[in-house]
């Protein structure tokens, strides 16, 4: 068993209205930051996971995303799994 570092990134599905993204874009513009486009706000979930292998970890995290961490109706997610530097 190794403790993998996991990072799940969840973002609003492409094409779906993202009012938070638009609000942030507007605020950045009013602060004078130009050239900012396509702002989307999502969430980041980090944790450690004890797993046998990277593929074991990936499989379980994917299940977690489908069941809890992301909403398949409105969100996309991607997962990064990293083995500890010196295991």
């Amino acid at each position: 068993m190794t403790d993998f570092r996991v990072e799940v990134r969840v973002t609003p599905r492409r094409g779906i209205l993202d009012p938070q993204g638009s609000a942030v874009q507007g605020a950045l513009r009013s602060l004078g930051f130009g050239g900012v486009e396509e702002v989307h706000v999502g969430r980041l979930i980090r944790f450690t996971l004890a797993a046998d292998s990277e593929s074991d970890a990936l499989g379980r995290v994917d299940a977690m995303c489908r069941q809890l961490l992301a909403n398949p109706v409105t969100e996309d997610y991607d997962v990064r799994v990293e083995a500890p530097a010196a295991a």
Binding site: V10, I16, L17, P19, N71, P72, V73
Partner: protein, 771 residues
């Protein structure tokens, strides 16, 4: 005008017509109206306008049974919302709307956007929304599908809360039932009440040739395309696959729209305003045109878009939220833009009002839709079907309460009461309504937790009361009685709060109307509702029809939710359900019966949904309501609470618990010669639990008697933290009130807090809503 088919549009085939939900006969009507084959875009337009949602195909003839007129009704059915006069030059606009199907797919957004839609219906009448209510139905929390139920429940509540809280409209009342009949098909009905000056009423009309039709608010995306037809078809595996249609709500933009709209309406720069609701631009623009008896001519490429490459079909049918259509007077477009700009909103002129009565849409000047407006809006065929009662349900009514065998545990009715107080349908809904801001705008005299909510009318001595009610199980067992009871209960709740019931908005949630048993339920329930509304002088000023509420396991209970509004003549009459003082007399108005059919008791304790719905007699019920209201107005009553689910014992408990942190004790004795289960937990109609000071008891009883209401003192309010004791001939309930209150208060949080569904809901809302 010649109409050009767009390159790339699919050919019109019988299959395509069928996919658009039009029957061959309906399609023949379309051909007759146009005198030619429709273009793909036109087919989409007809499909939306002739869907159940917009066209009321199967319900319109039945709705004729409802009374709609009274001297105080300023606006009856047919507008964005009904409006009644409440005196002092003030009027109240109110309406209820369902978002059942969207909520089944995506509870948080589905419920939130349901709130958004009904808010827009009210403020586009020129009314400032002052209160929201909601009526919710889910499957069993404790059942096999518990995880999904919790997810739907948590998501809907959070969606309703986040949206209303952000816009800043208090959510002041509602109801929640849990029953296996709603598994997979939850009901989410939201009601909005708004206040306006009677002379500022505005309607959704497009009139005045040359006036500008402007699209206001959010940019159009591919959200919820064909939502109107989606809402008119049964849920299936396939509709799961159509998930991307989900609409996302933006309550912040809604708040801006609300303020801007009210400013626009008062500015005199516009002649009409309308929400782009179900079927979006199509239905809003055609309905406005039809009401104005003119035509419209739209240039589709002027509609501001959020996504690239949208076709006219998609633009017309998109259900992106937080958009409105405004008709500006010629030459006032810049003024309209200035007002909107102040609220950070954009507006684009997308067409003009014409006088040819036609619905015309162009793409870069080329006509792609040209339909005579009147038949498009009014010509949807309606169907009167043959209803047949389901023999299985009819058989349930034959169940005989007198042969009912209580369980062994029931020899101690305290055991039974504990079970009932722990049943999520009966238990405290605090978990729900504490997620709703119920006090913003500082008008809430009585918020959630009593029989009806009461809001003051600033600048007057009066107030309005409001409630939503429907026990679907009664309607299932006996739709005619069930329909009557829904109205009677709503009226009773208002009366208990000190209000005179005035008008109704109804949300007819039923199964598939093509099934004869479902059609029968609709027609019987409406007959009952119509008679009751007539008896209580509460005409129906509008409502919403939601059909095809089925899942693979069958139809929901027929659930015609009744939203009712009443007037409190003097705020001094406002009364709540909570006992007020130790030593007060407890009086029961109305008569106990041996009925048990359709009760929560049978369901919770015996797992039975059976028997006939409780009997109602509208004349008796009217007398009761008049008597109770007279007593309240005479200042004789300290608390009033109607008995409903769980019967008299639960009603007494609720009054004891409602008064704050520490519940009151109760000592009551019921001498009726009725078996304990029916006496304590039966749901006989027409009963109200009152409390009064010992010195006014005699006068209270006399007042009720003068009104022909049977009434008697049944007990005394005990000390705070005392014992809850209700004695009958065959068994006594006895337990510390605090212990019972604990069961009642924790039943829902115990089943919800910290569950995966609860956590998932908190995560999702974070991304889409800030917080």
């Amino acid at each position: 005008m010649s109409v050009t088919a767009r390159p790339g549009d699919p050919a019109i085939t019988p299959e395509l017509v069928a996919e658009h939900g039009l029957s061959p006969e309906e399609y023949r009507l379309v051909l007759g109206i146009l005198g030619r084959t429709p273009t793909f875009t036109e087919l989409g337009v007809f499909s939306a306008m002739w869907s159940e949602h917009c066209g009321y195909k199967n319900s319109r003839p039945l709705l004729k049974q409802l009374p709609t007129k009274a001297p105080w009704v300023l606006q009856g059915p047919g507008e964005n919302a009904g409006v009644i006069d409440v005196g002092d030059g003030l009027a109240v606009a109110f309406k209820i709307e369902s978002h059942n199907h969207p909520s089944a797919v995506e509870p948080y957004q589905g419920a939130a956007t349901g709130v958004g839609g009904i808010l827009r219906d009210v403020f586009t009448m020129g009314a400032r929304p002052i209160a929201m209510l909601n009526s919710l139905r889910f499957g069993e929390i404790d059942g096999d599908e518990g995880d999904r139920v919790r997810y739907l429940f948590a998501g809907c509540v959070k969606g309703i809360g986040d949206y209303g809280n952000c816009v800043g409209i208090p959510t002041v009342a509602g109801e929640v039932y849990f029953d296996g009949a709603y598994e997979g098909n939850p009901l989410v009905n939201a009601m909005c009440v708004g206040l306006l000056k009677a002379d500022e009423l505005i309607r959704g009309v497009a009139s005045g040739v040359g006036n500008a039709i402007m699209a206001v608010g959010a940019k159009t995306g591919r959200d919820g395309i064909h939502g109107a037809t989606f809402a008119s078809a049964e849920l299936s595996e396939e509709s799961e696959a159509r998930r991307p249609q989900v609409q996302v709500g933006d309550p912040f933009t809604e708040k801006l729209l609300l303020e801007a709209s009210l400013e626009l309406i008062r500015s005199g720069h516009i002649v009409g305003i309308q929400d782009m609701g179900a079927a979006g631009l199509v239905s809003s623009s055609t309905e406005m045109a039809a009401r104005g008896e003119g035509g419209v001519d739209l240039e589709i490429t002027r509609v501001p878009l959020r996504e690239k490459g949208m076709t006219p079909y998609e633009i017309l049918l998109s259900e992106t939220q937080e958009r409105m259509l405004v008709v500006a007077k010629v030459g006032h477009e810049e003024d309209v833009r200035a007002i909107l700009g102040r609220w950070e909103l954009d507006a684009e002129t997308i067409g003009r009002v014409t006088d040819n009565g036609r619905y015309v849409v162009r793409e870069n000047g080329v006509v792609i839709v040209d339909i005579p407006g009147e038949p498009l809006v009014e010509g949807c065929p309606t169907y009167t079907r043959e209803g047949v009662e389901s023999p299985e349900i009819a058989a349930l009514r034959a169940w005989d309460a007198s042969a009912h065998q209580p369980l062994w545990e029931e020899h101690d009715p305290t055991w039974t009461l504990r079970r009932l107080l722990d049943a999520p349908t009966i238990a405290s809904k605090r978990w729900v309504y504490e997620q709703y801001d119920s006090t913003v705008r500082t008008n809430t005299v009585v918020g959630p937790g009593s029989d009806a909510a009461v809001l003051r009318l600033r600048g007057t001595d009066r107030a309005i009361a409001m409630t939503v009610d429907c026990n679907g199980r009664y309607v299932y067992l006996n739709p005619y009685r069930g329909g009557q009871i829904a109205v009677a209960e709503a009226a009773r709740n208002l009366v208990c709060s000190g209000a005179l019931p005035r008008a109704v908005t109804d949300n007819l949630n039923f199964g598939n109307p093509l099934k004869p048993e479902v059609y029968w339920q609709m027609s019987e329930a409406l007959r009952g509702i119509g008679e009751a509304c007539t008896a209580f002088e509460t005409p129906v000023t509008g409502g919403n029809v939601s059909l095809y509420n089925e899942n693979p396991r069958g139809a929901i209970y027929p659930t015609p939710t009744i939203g009712m509004v009443g007037i409190v003549d003097d705020v001094a009459h406002v009364t709540t359900a909570a006992f007020k003082q130790e030593g007060d007399a407890i009086v029961l108005a109305g008569r106990n019966t041996g009925e048990l059919g359709g009760s929560e008791y049978l369901k919770v304790v015996h797992g039975l949904v059976t028997g006939d719905a409780p009997a109602v007699d509208l004349a008796t019920e009217s007398r009761l309501q008049r008597g109770v209201l007279a007593a309240i107005r005479a200042g004789l009553v300290r608390s009033a609470h109607d008995t409903a689910e769980g019967g008299l014992a639960v009603a007494l408990a609720e009054s004891a618990f409602a008064g704050g942190t520490e519940p009151f004790g109760v000592t009551a004795r019921l001498g009726d010669d009725i078996p304990a289960p029916a006496l304590l937990f039966g749901e006989a109609q027409g009963r109200v639990v009152l409390s009064c000071g010992a010195e006014t008891e005699v006068e209270l009883l006399r007042t009720l008697e003068i009104h022909g209401v049977p009434a008697k003192r049944i007990g005394t309010v005990g000390p705070r933290g005392g014992s809850f004791r209700v004695q009958t001939r065959d068994g006594t309930i006895e337990a510390p009130a605090a212990e019972l209150a604990e069961i009642y208060e924790t039943a829902i949080p115990r089943r919800m807090d910290g569950t995966a569904a609860d956590v998932e809901t908190s995560l999702e809302s974070e991304v889409q809503h800030g917080a």
